[in-house]
Structures are given as structure tokens and as C-alpha cells.
Symmetry: none
Subunit: 202 residues, 4 copies
DNA sequence: GATGAATGAGGATTCATTCAT
DNA sequence: TATGAATGAATCCTCATTCAT
């Protein structure tokens, strides 16, 4: 049991190593330009080894996203659940994403830029990823709907409002990712949240 | 001269045919999945002929975007120039994009989803496209700055405000492109513009 | 028209070149050990060119066999049709195969040894090849049946008799292909035919 | 000694298990399509273990054949030795093979179809297998030669006569293996033997 | 001995680009 | 100028074999 447990740990660890390497390389080169061997090299393993853990390049990609997407979703849920008001919920939605970005830049680079684009095209990739990609907005929309019903905020279309928050957040992150133009300050986030709140308040 | 002029016209026309075909195919399949022969076929020419007009697949892609990006930029400039107030400027910014989208869905599908993603990656693609992609926001930012200076709107960070408008617009278009979920109504646009104005007003 | 005709000829010729090369290489190495590049090299073309003419390695293999299998079938039909008696039919059946073998050793090496083996395994390859592989025997069986009905030969099971002839023929060819042991003389054929006739006569 | 003997027995037993598994899998999938792991799994051992008993996939293949080829050869020798006349020898040659086939279909599927094809190709595989594959015929040829010398049968070329018997036998077995067309009856064998005898009698 | 995780050479296939006609 | 046949580098994936445990 000791051995099998250790093995299992090692195996899980290796899987994580691969996913970490995959995020690094996919973030640097994008899906199409990434060669499976690059990922293996980055992970310090042989090409064939990768195929012991994942059945295809595409599955590596999706798994690399899925793991972080789940975590982000969980953190979002936690943060929103604790938020006493719709304003707090909104602010936390943005903050969770921006702080997750600090720690997982590679993930968000793929998730926010390339994966969104891939979703636009026809081929279905991963049902769960699709769902997670929309769950954050849906959660926020629920909070907005409840607040609007209680007359705490403007009786706006809650879905559309949540979409707006999501898009602005994406913009903030992309701006950080780009690194172009004016450097992005922490104040920018506060300002964006403030504007969004104003837009939605009574 | 007549002949050479005619030839030139013909040649330009063919170039346009190719770019139109390219937009169609790239929008349908995305950059990676598009095969050069698909474009040639869609354009009704031979594969080799395409290479008389463009040096590479990538250049076709960029040219296909550049043309429309310039038009969109010109229309934006015109619309914003005529706008009497910052609110009008904001509304027109959004409307120009959404109406351009109606007529050039293929272009915007590539521009808003895939190209943005490609920009994120390291390799520089087209300086002009980069610039155009930001010019709209910059223009809007200038109007905002002027209006704020005149005390007509909140003394917000104009660049950040323009970014917000840009991101929300992108969200509206993506939602139309997706075709998922609730169908998008014209009212959504009005609502979004209204929210953005509220966010920025004094 | 001249050009397109010429082109067509050239294209057909190239197809034949590839098939010829394929037969050579497949006969030398067998299907599994043959690498597509080997065939291309033998044909004096690039690897990619081969894929302009055939969609896969397997299809090259089948096409290489099919062409000759059809010719062999046609020759068999012609020879058997002219045969006045069942004895002549039997002799010609054997002779056609042995003389075809002289001119198309590569084909028969694949057809008689490897392809038969592949047929045994489950995966369906080419319905026409299967049919052709059995048509010769079937034709002979018909002749035998007719002759038996007329009392010209032993009232044997005609199918089994034809199978026997087919198997002995295959043995003669394999012996030539092997090149082991005693060299095979023309007299061997005559002797085999003689024995088969004796086995079947009244 | 007891232990080492037991070990040896165990080891031999395991070797047999592997060979049995190999025959099963090779017969089902053919050499090329068989993956070493399939054999190990069928044998209920680890992949690495297989390599403790055999140095390569090819050697497993050959060993799987060799064992049964030896047995078949031994049975043939026994049966032929007891046969009082050339007719009995012939009949027993056929019968031994057909009854061996009943009990060892997997072996004969490989031996009669695939292995024969592999022999045709250049690379030498196993000298003993080659020899065994011909020994049966050689034995029969000796009996024929003796009988012919005694004037008991037609003064035919004994080798060629034996080849004929061998080929017809192979045909009977292949027909059973195929399972196509008319089902094969026991009478077919009797008929084939009868025909062969007629072909060879005085 | 037994195992199965790790490896990387090898192979089928694709496709951007060239170039002879 | 227009063409599309030809090319081969590049890529994903498989699997026989090895070796640390």
C-alpha cells in the first residue's frame, strides 16, 4: 500500500508537472504553434511519456485549462457567497480574477485569449470548460437579479449586467497581459469596479 | 496606359476577391484549420495564383483583417468626429461597431476572437493592425479626456473608460457571434450604452 | 485539349509508375515493413506526391494488387473460354497463372503469399479483390460441373476439385518464389497438370 | 534442488503460458497488429516479464510456432511410420494436419497463412521452422519414392507429389479457417484424399 | 524474479510554398 | 499571368524495448 500510494502520488505529481509545462508552453506559443515535444521537454520527460498520461495533444490542452478553470470557479463561488451586497459580489468577482491572474498568468493567457476564440468556432471541445467559462457570469447574474428584485440596484437586465462585468474584467487582464502602453496600476481595478457599480446602482 | 490601368484595376479586383474569400474561410475555420487551397477555391482561382498576390498565408490573413480594420477605423473616426457630446461619441462608437458587424460578420469574427488571441502571443504580426486595434479606443479616450476637462463628465481615467467601452462592445459582438443562450436584441445595445453613460456621467 | 490530354496521360503514367514501384517494394519487404517513402523513392517521386494519387498506404497496396488481379482474371476467363475440354480448362488455368507469374513476379509474390494471409484476418480490405481472388476457382468449378454433368469427368464435387487445382497451382508458384531446394522445371507443371487430370478423370 | 526444479518447472510453465497467449493473440490479430502488451495481458503477466523469457516480439512469434510445429512434425512422423502403404501415409498426412487443426486452430491460422507469407520475404527467420515446414513433405516424399521404387504407385516425381498433397491439405485448412462459402464437411477430406490417391496410383 | 513507467526512434500523413508549363 | 502538380519539412502518435524499484 505504501508503494502503491507513493506511486499514485508520483503519478499524480507527474501529471501535474505535465499540465504545468503545458500551460507554460501553450501560453507562450498558442495551441497551434505548440509541438507536443515542446511540452515534454518543458516537463523534463520523454515524448512518449506524455501519452501515458493524456491521449492527445488536445486533451492535454483541455486538461491544462480545466484544472485551473475549476479552481477559479470554486474561488469565485466562495468569494461571491460571502459577499454581503451586490457591490461586494461585483468587486470580488473582479478581484478574484485579477488575483488569480497574478498567480496563474499562463492559465489566464490561454483561457482569456485563445480558448475564448476557440469556443467561437464550431467544434465542441469540453462541455465542462464551456460551462465553467459561463458559470462565473451566471453566478453574478443571479446575485444581480436578487438585488434588483429587492430594489437594491437598478432593475437592469441581470445577465447583461454580468456580461458587462465579465467583459470589463477580461479587458483589465488582457491589458496586463499585453504589457503595452501605460502600465496597469492597482488603482485601475478599483476605478473599473467603481464605474461598474455606478452603472448599476439605483 | 489604358491597358495598364485596366490591368491594375483587374489586379486590384482580384486581390479583393482573394481577401473576401479569405475572410469567409478564416471566419468559418479559423487560421490554423484553414488550408490555403480552401481560400483559392473560394476565390475561384488557382492555388499558385494566390501566391502572386500575397507572399504567404499569414500575409493573406493580415491583409484580410487590415482592409476592414482600416474601414472600421475610418468609419469610427467619422462617426466620432460628428458626435456633439461624449455621450454621442460613446454611443456611436458602439453603434458603428455593431452595424459594421452586421455587414461584415466574417471580419469581426476573426478580428474580435482569433486575432485578439494571436496578438497576445509573442510574435509581432502587423504593426498597423496593432495600432488600428487600439486607435478606436484612443480616439474615444481623447473625447473623454476633453469632456472631463470641460467638466461634462466624471473626471475618470479616460483611457480606462475607453477600454471599458471597448470591452463591453466586444462582449456584445461575441454574444451575437456565439448565438448561444438568449437571443440578442437591439435593446441590449441600448441598455449597454445607457449603463456605460451612467458609469461615466458626473 | 491537347494539353489536358497530355496531362491526363502523364498523370495516368505517373499513377502506373507508383503502382509499379509499390509492387516492387511490397514484394521485397511485405506490407508492414514497407515504408511509404520507400515506394516514393523507388518511383522517383517525393513522398507527398504519392498522396496526390492515393489516399493512404493501404490504398496503394490494394490498387497495386487490383490492377494485376483484374488482368489475371481477364486472361483466365479468356483462356478458359477457349478451352474445348475440362482438361484443357484445367491446364490453361495453371498455365495462365504460371506464365503470368513469369511476367509479374512481384504481383504474385504479394498476391499469393501476403494478401491471402491478410484475407484470413478479419478486416475487410477490398470487396473486388476478394471476389477476383475467388473468381478463377469459381470459373473452373463451373467448367467442372458442366463436364461432370455430361459424364466427361468424375462426378466429383466441382468446387472442391477447383479448389484443389488452385491450391496445387499456388504451391507451384510458391516453390518458384522460394527458390529453395530443387530448381523448378517446366516439366513440373506438366506433371502437376497430369496428376490433377488423373485425379479427376472418370 | 527441489526448489530449483520446482522453479524450473514453474518457469517452463510460464513460458508455455506466454506462448499460448501469443498464439491466441497472433492468430486473432496477425503479427503486425499484435502489440506485445496484448500478449502479456492475455498471459496474465507484466509486459516486462515477457522479456525475461523472450528477447523480442519476433522471437515470441517464432517460438509460438516452433513448439507446435515440432509437435505436428512428431505426430506426422509417428503416423507416417505406422502407415503400411503409401495410400495410408497420404491419408494420415492429411488427417494428422486436419485433426491437429481442430485442436490447435490458433497455431495453424498463423502457420498456414501468415508465416508462409513471411517465409517468402527475404529476411531469414528461423532455420528450424523452415526445416519443419518442409519436413512433413519430405517424409511423405520418401514414402512415395519407396513405393514408386517398389512399383506400388505411379513412378511420379515423389517430391512434387508430396508438394501436391501438402498444398491440397493447406487448401482444406484455409477453407475451414475462412468460414466463407459452403461449410466444410468431413466428406471433403475423404474426397480430397481419394482424388490424391487416384492421381498417384498406378 | 516481476513489474509497468519511461523512452525515443520510426512512420503515416498534411500542407505551405515553389516552379515548370 | 495563371495554374496545380510536386515537394519535403514538420507533426502527432505508436510501440518494442529497457530499467529502476
Amino acid at each position: 500500500m505504501g508503494i502503491s500510494l507513493r506511486r499514485k502520488e508520483t503519478s499524480e505529481r507527474r501529471r501535474d508537472t505535465i499540465l504545468h509545462a503545458a500551460r507554460t508552453v501553450f501560453a507562450r506559443k498558442g495551441y497551434a504553434a505548440t509541438v507536443v515535444e515542446d511540452i515534454a521537454e518543458e516537463a523534463g520527460i520523454g515524448k512518449g511519456t506524455l501519452y501515458l498520461y493524456f491521449p492527445s495533444k488536445e486533451q492535454v490542452y483541455l486538461a491544462a485549462l480545466l484544472e485551473d478553470a475549476r479552481t477559479l470557479d470554486a474561488e469565485s463561488r466562495g468569494a461571491l457567497a460571502e459577499a454581503p451586497s451586490w457591490r461586494d459580489a461585483l468587486r470580488r468577482y473582479v478581484e478574484v480574477r485579477l488575483s488569480y491572474f497574478e498567480a496563474h498568468e499562463d492559465f489566464l493567457r490561454i483561457y482569456m485569449t485563445e480558448f475564448r476564440g476557440m469556443c467561437m468556432q464550431g467544434r465542441p471541445l469540453s462541455a465542462e470548460l464551456y460551462r465553467l467559462a459561463q458559470d462565473g457570469e451566471a453566478l453574478l447574474a443571479q446575485r444581480f437579479a436578487a438585488a434588483a428584485a429587492r430594489g437594491e440596484m437598478r432593475a437592469a437586465d441581470p445577465e447583461l449586467a454580468a456580461l458587462m462585468v465579465s467583459d470589463v474584467t477580461r479587458g483589465l487582464i488582457e491589458r496586463r497581459l499585453r504589457g503595452w502602453g501605460r502600465p496597469v496600476s492597482a488603482g485601475d481595478t478599483a476605478f473599473a469596479v467603481d464605474m461598474l457599480c455606478r452603472a448599476l446602482e439605483r
